[in-house]
Amino acid sequence: MNIPTSQLVLSVAIMAVVTYLTRSLPLTLFRREIKNPYIRAFLEYIPYAVLGAMTLPDIFFSTSSIWSALAGLTVAMILSYREKSLLTVAVAACAVVFVAERFL
């Protein structure tokens, strides 16, 4: 990673400020609870939409080959369907990729 320190620091600062504003600003702007069912639904669904869009298709390009990534994805899907913890799923996916890349 060849990124100048100034760009790094500014990027981190932007993340911190924007995140803080999402937490602190609403109360300053509106004092009432959001009642609109469409806005409520939108706010509930958005994190999953973001994570979904970030995961696919990018996951296929996150390892040395599409096939090891597919193996990792499959294991992650099965374990998370069984509601294993975040760490368990992430570590298992890595382990499967590691093993798969030795054989492919």
């Binding site: 803080y20 869009a53 390892t63």
Partner: protein
């Protein structure tokens, strides 16, 4: 609301924060490890954890910073991912001590995360600033410490292990999405639409010229928009 069960004990807050802190230790360990594996200086990863305190937002920010994304893209992505905190912040404001001044609120609002919100909002009666400070303290320390330990461990890992770590972040995302999609059809539908759109933006000529950060924003806003039109939430949300 029951005014008699007012909770404002710092030590009780600390106790309630311990399980959250332990959970955070492992997630932030993964973050620290991945940040270093991606080539980010350990100090920078720790700085992110200490100033941002959010899981999905940090992982997204990490991949964008490493890809040298533009500032506007970073800002918009953080906004989209973390907009849910606005709802929690509004909801929590109804729960906090009515006499709470603006300044303590500005401090407490820094520590609103999914888990801290969940614990604070399920307490019976109102909660005060001392309780909230305790509740936030342990997870905050756990989050920073886990990042530091992960970054340290990541620095010593051999290259072939590091290449397998590339998938860790996506494993975590899947572990967040799948259980939620299993329980809620709207969440399943929204995620599926977002995934299909994001694949279109990757592979369809023309569409694949749009840069990564904006693709995520377009896909997620469209998918959540469709979801909210089909399945609005009338009942209590959080």
């Amino acid at each position: 609301m029951d005014e008699s069960s007012y909770q404002n004990n710092f030590k009780q807050g600390l106790r309630d924060g311990v399980p959250i802190g332990l959970g955070y230790l492992s997630v932030s360990f993964t973050f620290g490890m991945m940040a270093v594996a991606a080539g980010m200086p350990a100090l920078c990863a720790i700085l992110i954890s200490m100033t941002t305190l959010t899981s999905a937002g940090q992982f997204a920010g990490l991949s964008m910073i490493v890809a040298s994304a533009g500032y506007l893209e970073i800002a918009l992505t953080q906004l989209v991912i973390n907009i849910r905190y606005s709802l929690m912040s509004l909801s929590l404001s109804q729960k906090l001590d009515r006499k709470l001044k603006t300044l303590p609120w500005l401090g407490i609002s820094f520590g609103i995360t999914d888990e801290i919100f969940a614990v604070a909002s399920t307490k019976s009666g109102r909660v005060g600033s001392k309780y909230m400070t305790g509740l936030i303290a342990v997870p905050y320390i756990g989050w920073a410490l886990g990042t530091a330990l992960g970054a340290l461990a990541g620095s010593f890992l051999p290259a072939m292990v590091q290449s397998a770590l590339g998938i860790a972040i996506y494993g975590m995302f899947i572990a967040i999405i799948v259980p939620a999609a299993k329980k809620s059809f709207p969440v399943f539908l929204v995620t599926a639409v977002a995934v299909i759109l994001s694949c279109l933006f990757r592979f369809v000529p023309g569409l694949n010229q749009v840069s990564g950060g904006f693709v995520i924003i377009i896909c997620s806003v469209a998918a959540a928009g469709i979801g909210s039109l089909c399945f609005p939430k009338k009942e209590e949300l959080l």
